[in-house]
């Protein structure tokens, strides 16, 4: 069987799900953040494969934007996590419960 769109999409879906699983299960903010990057990347993969099989370039442009935005997001996010760590000496999600109910 030839490798086609379905295969790539399957990988992309699995990647997305793995990322999701990471977000849900891991407790370290940084790891969660990495999992989020995984999810974004899965979208990239999907876009690129669609782009390839639909013969349209717009998807790749979108990927370009996604990568840029992701980079910006990571920068802000990491700065935030660092600031938080300085305050709390922890990057654990469970320690972030000063506001609830």
């Amino acid at each position: 069987m030839n490798v086609g769109l379905h295969h790539y999409l399957f990988v992309s879906f699995m990647l997305f799900s793995l990322g999701l699983l990471g977000v849900i299960l891991r407790r370290n903010l940084l790891v969660i953040y990495m999992s989020l990057e995984l999810m974004l990347n899965s979208a990239n993969l999907a876009l690129v494969s669609f782009s390839r099989f639909n013969n349209k370039l717009d998807g790749q442009v979108l990927v370009f934007f996604i990568i840029t935005v992701a980079a910006a997001e990571v920068a802000v996010g990491l700065a935030l996590i660092v600031a938080l760590y300085r305050k709390r000496q922890s990057a654990h999600v469970e320690d972030l419960t000063s506001m609830k109910l």
């Binding site: 999409l9 997305f16 990322g19 977000v23 903010l29 969660i32 953040y33 989020l36 999810m39 974004l40 899965s42 979208a43 999907a46 876009l47 494969s49 669609f50 639909n54 349209k56 717009d58 998807g59 442009v61 979108l62 934007f65 996604i66 935005v69 910006a72 997001e73 802000v76 996010g77 935030l80 996590i81 600031a83 938080l84 305050k87 709390r88 972030l96 000063s98 506001m99 609830k100």
Partner: protein, 486 residues
Amino acid sequence: MNSSLIMLEISVIGLGLVLMLADLFVPAERRRFIGYAAIVALGVLLVTSLSGNGSCGQFDTAFGGMFVNDALSLFFKQLFIVAAILVLFMAAEFSDKLAEGSVAEYYSLILFALAGMLFAASSNDFTMLFVSIELITITFYVLVSFQRGKIQSLEAGVKYLILGALSSAFMVFGIALIWGTTGELNFTRLAAVAPQFADSQIFLLGVLLVLVGLGFKIAAFPFQIWAPDVYQGAPTPTTAFLAIGSKAAGFVLLLRVLFTAVPGVTAHWANLLIVISAITILYGNLCAIPQRNLKRLLGYSSIAHAGYLLLGVAALSASGQSALMYYLAGYVFTVMAAFFVITLVMRHLATEDISGLAGLNQRSPLLAATLTLAMVSLAGIPPLAGFFGKFLLLKAVIEAAQTSHNHGYYCLAFTALAGVIISLYYYFGVIRAIYWSKSPEDVSPIVLSSPAKFSIGACLAGMLWIGVFPNTVLNLTNLAAAALGK
């Protein structure tokens, strides 16, 4: 290429840059005036955009149909600018709580977020949708965690960051699927091809994932979970802007996606929207009942209001959309008024608990009256804005029930009704705390600066004006809704 269409956005971004630079040259003790300068500039922009000859007034598309100026975008842009002006006023009052060196940045970030919202209002393409939403969201990450000295602010920032990024991931994936199936990113062109894919699972999946992202922005069930924490932790002006700007941006995009891009799909989702709207209303209102923290209370209440606003979406009609926008217009002034009072009270008392409101009418009758009226308007009681807005929304829903013979709409109307009644309980709780809880020993008066008085007055006037003379706004929203249907 009608790049002149984006003059407004360019001006706002430029203004943001100027403010940031101005910071370098203005002495520290006068930085407050940077904000006032920004307000004046925005006021000018508002007037020009209102005039009809300004960039917003030209109804056209640009950038290959990616950017569209129509009555809808015009309405929302005006709404965003008004909101931003009021937030800047609030920020000026709040500035002593911010790190001293970063006041100007705070203003300029507000302007950048505003730019994102303005772009969102004109988005007619998923790329635009994505980047404008990201611009708003990332700016808000910073705005939410702006009080670095306060753990709650940072915590709120992180929560918003993670969940925001999560929702972005879903949305991006959804966009990928939509584009992958249809090959179109442009809303208008998508609408033309979408009918072919109406039963394509993967296409529907894509649309749903986009809705997840937008649902997050407007804090609709089941993506409402972040709202209370973030509202509570964020600096109050940010909260206010989040409650209005971010939410409204979510709604304008939701309207565009549902009614411009995939109207055929939306038509089948009446029940989905009904359920989401109903649960959102109930969730927000029910959770708010035992709430004692004012900002958190407003967080829950904003969830409930997202639900009310969704009534207009669920109605799937022009009158529903028009009602939604009308409601938003009233909501701007109401929520701003509420947060303004909270800002000032908190600055004075350093508490966010409702009990802190005790004796407020002795401290400052104006603030007490303003908060009361805001609560009354949120509860939907005449003659303030909230009443007529709810009236229009209910009307739209019942109209939908009658035209579509879907009894779910009646259930929705009754749920909304139940929500309104539940909400009376906690809104009146706030009023009660102001007027008839035991006054504390010390009832030192809260002194208001004249800009604060001015902006509170403006909020009150807006609330009353929209409630008592609905014609002007209603005509605008009707036009906007008509533009959406085209």
